[in-house]
């Protein structure tokens, strides 16, 4: 039953699987994002309160959800690496951090652009916005800590520890709109009960979300290959792999 888990601890196996997945993930991501763009910009009706400005949801929500998902992936991989001393776990965490940081930046910028016409300001020290900014700082701290040590193993361990501790911020970001008074609207799709959107608006959003997730998978696989190569440079299997 655990054979697949042990296989994932093998750098050559992970390198091969990651290389094989990239074109498929990119292809399906392009399809999902393409449909999401056409349906979200051209077919979905305007919102009765926000008008056409609501269409920013199709990039803001997937990027915000992805910033949280990537952090969770990074923390779980770091936890696995710390507990079972699996080097591939550190490689997954190192590969995830810059991707997650870029989507946290995207979520903050698109949220800011959406906030101006709706709230009258680009920025407010609101619980959701502030906790998302802290998420970005955590990504930066994890990346900085990893490269602050001369010994890569110590850097990996220190960054993994911070990633695991920092995961406490993920539920804070998600539930900030429930726990505190917030300018930000409540959850739209990731919540208990039915989503608060009609299907014509919801399907493009789900498609964009899926597309962003698949895109993350593809970029993660590319970066993971690089991280594995950087860690296994001297291994005999690398000669065959980079031919």
């Amino acid at each position: 039953m655990w054979t697949w888990f042990y296989k994932l601890a093998s750098p050559p196996y992970v390198y091969g699987v990651a290389a094989a997945f990239v074109p498929w993930l990119l292809g399906f991501a392009a399809l999902a994002i393409g449909y999401g763009l056409v349906a979200g910009l051209g077919i979905a009706p305007a919102d009765y309160q926000q008008g056409e400005a609501f269409r920013m949801i199709y990039v803001h929500v997937p990027s915000a959800l992805l910033s949280l998902t990537v952090y969770t992936v990074m923390a779980v991989a770091s936890g696995i690496a710390l507990i079972w001393r699996i080097k591939v776990g550190h490689a997954v965490a190192a590969a995830s951090a810059p991707i997650g940081a870029s989507f946290a930046i995207l979520a903050l910028i698109t949220g800011s652009l959406w906030g101006k016409p709706m709230w009258g300001t680009y920025w407010a020290w609101d619980p959701r916005l502030t906790s998302e900014l802290i998420l970005l700082f955590l990504y930066v701290a994890v990346m900085s800590l990893r490269s602050a040590f001369e010994d890569p193993l110590r850097g990996d361990r220190a960054a993994a520890l911070l990633a695991v501790v920092g995961v406490v911020n993920v539920p804070i970001v998600h539930f900030s709109v429930v726990w505190w008074n917030s300018l930000h609207q409540g959850a739209t799709i990731v919540k208990l009960g039915a989503p608060s959107m009609p299907g014509s608006m919801l399907w493009p959003l789900l498609s964009m979300w899926l597309g962003f997730m698949l895109f993350f998978g593809a970029v993660l696989c590319m970066r993971l290959q690089a991280e594995v190569l950087n860690r296994e440079r001297q291994a005999s299997w690398v000669r065959e792999a980079i031919k």
Binding site: L37, L41, G42, A46, G51, E52, A53, R55, M56, V59, H60, S63, P98, I99, S102, F103, I105, L106, I109, T110, L113, W114, K116, P117, F215, A218, V219, M222, R223, Q225, A226, E227, L229, N230, R233, Q234, V238, R239, I242
Partner: protein, 56 residues
């Protein structure tokens, strides 16, 4: 009709930069990952070449 689409009900200056920046972030991710992987392959090839040189 096309004009209505591009004006986004008066919110064009918020909606289109939002999509433009999203496109730029996706493109950067793909470019940076490709470059990082390429550089890792070059480093690995150099390390292997040096190792085989030393063996001789």
């Amino acid at each position: 009709m096309t004009g209505d689409f591009w004006s986004m009900g008066g919110y064009a200056r918020y909606v289109w930069p939002c999509y433009g920046i999203a496109g730029a972030v996706l493109a950067w991710n793909l470019w940076a990952a490709g470059r990082y992987l390429g550089a890792a392959k070059v480093r690995a090839a150099r390390a292997l070449a040096m190792a085989s040189g030393e063996a001789r």
